[in-house]
């Protein structure tokens, strides 16, 4: 089993001042897996993702990706190794067109250039249904389009591991289905996907395994059914 482990988070700790946002969290994601990460607001999901993607540096513990220790690697190096993420609050490159947004990861992380990169960007946009907006300034997109752009841009980095941070918040159920379909398709091509989501229906449908965080600690891990049955999870979500 351990040969299969693709991302190994080993008792990672992150503190902000006196407040421990993550307290010795460990989890392992297998190659090609669809992995769900849930937890109430402020439970440390995004902090954990930040530590994995390199936006934050863990105070303690180790993070291993493939066979490389990436704990202290800067974020852009991790992206080049194959970890790409979308942001919960969309952070497009506002002054650029939609397609140029994709060219950044294509050039910087995936090593593409010229016409080939442009073609690849356009095909990703087609996949996301954004091709009509390719030449529009990304600042002019709607919220939903921006979410799609987030995902599209992450895909443009040609990731081996894609971290989708609440990509579906605010989408209609049809759109949620669209995105899910895209993520499924990506996964079929061999990309490992970590999904952080509030929309339970989506997480449960998508994930093979799920980890639950509460107050900076992992309180449960297992298949969707296991998680739904877990008392501690219920308590964490519904309170006492």
């Amino acid at each position: 089993m351990s040969a299969e482990v693709f991302l190994d988070v080993q008792s990672v700790t992150k503190r902000f001042g006196g407040f421990a946002a993550l307290n010795g969290v460990s989890l392992s994601v297998r190659r090609g897996e669809r992995f769900g990460l849930i937890g109430p607001n402020g439970s440390g999901k995004t902090t954990l993702i930040n530590c994995v993607s390199g936006t934050l540096r863990a105070d303690g513990g180790r993070i291993v990706f493939g066979d490389q220790d990436i704990t202290t690697l800067p974020a852009h190096r991790r992206t080049r190794l194959g970890i790409a993420r979308s942001f919960q609050i969309p952070k497009p490159f506002m002054s650029m067109t939609v397609v140029d947004n994709l060219l950044i990861p294509l050039e910087y992380a995936a090593g593409g250039h010229g016409a080939a990169a442009m073609d690849e960007a356009m095909s990703i946009l087609r996949l996301m249904g954004l091709d009509a907006k390719a030449r529009v300034r990304s600042g002019a997109l709607t919220q939903i389009e921006m979410r799609k752009l987030e995902l599209a841009r992450a895909m443009a980095a040609r990731p081996k591991l894609l971290v989708s941070d609440e990509a579906m918040a605010g989408l209609s159920s049809n759109e949620v289905d669209d995105i899910l379909a895209i993520l499924f398709r990506l996964n079929e091509t061999g990309i490992t996907v970590i999904m952080i989501e509030h929309i339970m229906r989506a997480v449960m449908r998508f994930s093979e395994r799920i980890a639950v965080l509460d107050a900076g600690e992992k309180i449960a891990e297992g298949g969707p059914d296991q998680i739904l049955a877990d008392k501690r999870v219920e308590k964490a979500y519904l309170g006492e």
Partner: protein, 314 residues
Amino acid sequence: MSGRAFAVAAVVVIAGGLLVAGLGLNQYYYFAAYVVLQYVVLATAWNILGGYTGYVNFGTPAFFALGAYTAVVLIKWLKAPLLAQLVAGAVVAGLLGLAIGYLTLRLRGVFFSIATLALTVVLQTMFVNWEYTGGARGISLARPATAPFYGSYVQFVFAVMVILAVLAVATAWCIERSWIGRGFAAIRDNEEAAECMGVPTLRLKLLATTVSGMLMGLAGAPFPFYITFVEPASVFDLNYAVNSLAMPMIGGTTTWVGPVIGAVLLGSAQQIATVTISSELNLLLVGVILVAFVILAPEGIVGLVRRLSRRDPA
């Protein structure tokens, strides 16, 4: 503008400049044009960091002065020719850019701005206390009796500034067109996202501060021979900071044309204002224009023109 068109334009400007320098016009025009061109270099240099990556540098005077004082040292020590002064000025100012970038660029943008402000004060104090370069009293420098190529040194220095201006603009143009330029823009738009998309932000920022610093030093290096008298208060003048920031703002910060337009417009306006209306009004004008532009036309003249031209056909 395509690469070829730009190259042709650059050659035409240089040839034109060298020709004009040879005409032996009224000296005043060379002096005035020198100042405007110097601002083209400074504004372009500022914009490479401030406009492209979004890091506001208040320390233009520090880099400019370092270029000028490097030249002073070379003149005094080795009687070095202008070319050597230019190279040395650029290198030293570039190193300063690298150092200050390394110190502060891991922080939020405003901290960098404040650090550059502090840097200016520290550096000025150093030169005030360094007797070799004249200290607070300043230093008078005799320029060579004859200038190479042209009869008078004024014409020669003007010609050099033409070349430097084209060089600076060409640098900006190249950066803008390359993957580096897109990386800069990504940093400006959202640094965190840029880093997560594989952009080595720290390294690119260091590149920007270094190149920007080099060009500013380059602008300062001919100053001693232009004015023949250097003292800390005049080269560490806050006005260099104001103008090199205001000009791109007025012209537009996202393209290489913006700083050029801004420098030519504001620079010439100031030259004209100096000899027509009172300078107080001149300063007031800069303030009002700055506020008006940043509120009403945040993308500068370039953005304004773009907006209008987009509206017209529709």
